[in-house]
Symmetry: C2
DNA sequence: TTACAGACTGACTAAACAGTCGGTAAAATT
DNA sequence: AATTTTACCGACTGTTTAGTCAGTCTGTAA
């Protein structure tokens, strides 16, 4: 019954299928089962809808991660938890994942304030800094480390999304690649 | 004087700035300094132009790589050469790199025949297979290894593209991250 | 029970768009 | 030299698009 949500859901599905500009607002409204005008009641412009969708997905992902991940006994275990949760999120939210991948390389991404990005990255940077100061991982710049870890995760996502593995096999690939990641940063 | 090339150049620049559908064909023609109709003389549709641009860039990149990279004394050296050349290509062809990143996550990418993708990947897969059979790298599936290496490269590109480092510093980051990559796959 | 606010509608419009077409000029083929 | 093919032009068009607007419906609270 939440029309705003319905619009966002429809937009997500269609954007992933046809691209941002390849999807007319009229089609989004139709798919969402609302009137054309309703879309513009909730979102001033189409661009605002795209941005709002990204922000919405990012916040849901953050919520998922902080819900799933608890600090573990060791640093390595904590990082592993993070890694696993990130990959699971992508597997369980394929459309959302593909949308964010598309968004991040698009010109829209420039409209996200650098400050907000930095803000959302801070906890990860802090954690990595802790790891460095305790000599648990390589003393490289944290933003480099973070970028490499993220890329690894997205590489793995790509791999898992392109194959249909059983849960067992999935787990095995995830833990194998985590060990590889760990070898990389230590 | 090559109008086809002018159109592709203009399209590249504008697509990176405004996105595929955010760029009207009329603007591409204007930027290229040709008539509107000329664009459609060379490319049947706008979609065809986007695809042609991707194919063109990919082939220029392949040419660059096979020109730069020669087989080295050791397996590790060969992989390092590949790694360095890939990163240099992205640094020297920033627009092209950003375009391909955008393209690969877009719905357009589905229009590239899987066979062609496989074809272009074959030499890399062969090389990795060789490394595995000689016990030089981890015995993981080659497509997984390749995806992880590619992701690493694109992570590094992102890092280097976001910072302005001196040539010396750039080299240092590249060789540091290559050692990390090597630790990952061995 | 009336007054008001905000959710919601869908027909509408002005602008933008991809692609066409009738034509010219130059190059290639005969 | 004649003919055909190709490169190129830019005004034009039918369609599609984002966004508007005048007004209806629904809930709430005075």
């Amino acid at each position: 019954m939440d029309k705003r949500k319905q619009i966002l859901d429809a937009a997500l599905k269609l954007f992933v299928e046809y691209g941002f500009h390849g999807t007319p607002t009229s089609l989004i409204a139709k798919e969402a089962g609302v009137a054309n005008g309703t879309l513009f009641h909730y979102f001033a412009t189409k661009d605002a809808l795209v941005i709002a969708l990204y922000v919405d997905i990012k916040s849901r992902m953050s919520a998922y991660l902080s819900e799933q991940v608890e600090v573990q006994k060791t640093f390595k275990d904590t990082i592993r938890e993070q890694y696993i949760a990130s990959v699971f999120w992508a597997l369980e939210n394929r459309l959302e994942y593909r949308f964010t991948e598309q968004f991040k390389t698009s010109p829209f991404f420039a409209q996200i304030a650098p400050k907000e990005i930095e803000e959302s990255l801070k906890p990860y940077y802090d954690m990595l800094n802790r790891g460095i100061s305790e000599n648990l991982i390589k003393p490289q710049p944290v933003d480099l480390l973070f970028t490499l870890i993220s890329s690894q995760t997205s590489g793995l996502n790509q791999y898992l999304l392109n194959h249909q593995f059983s849960k067992t096999k999935q787990h095995q690939v995830i833990s194998d690649t985590f060990e590889m990641l760990w070898n990389m940063i230590t």
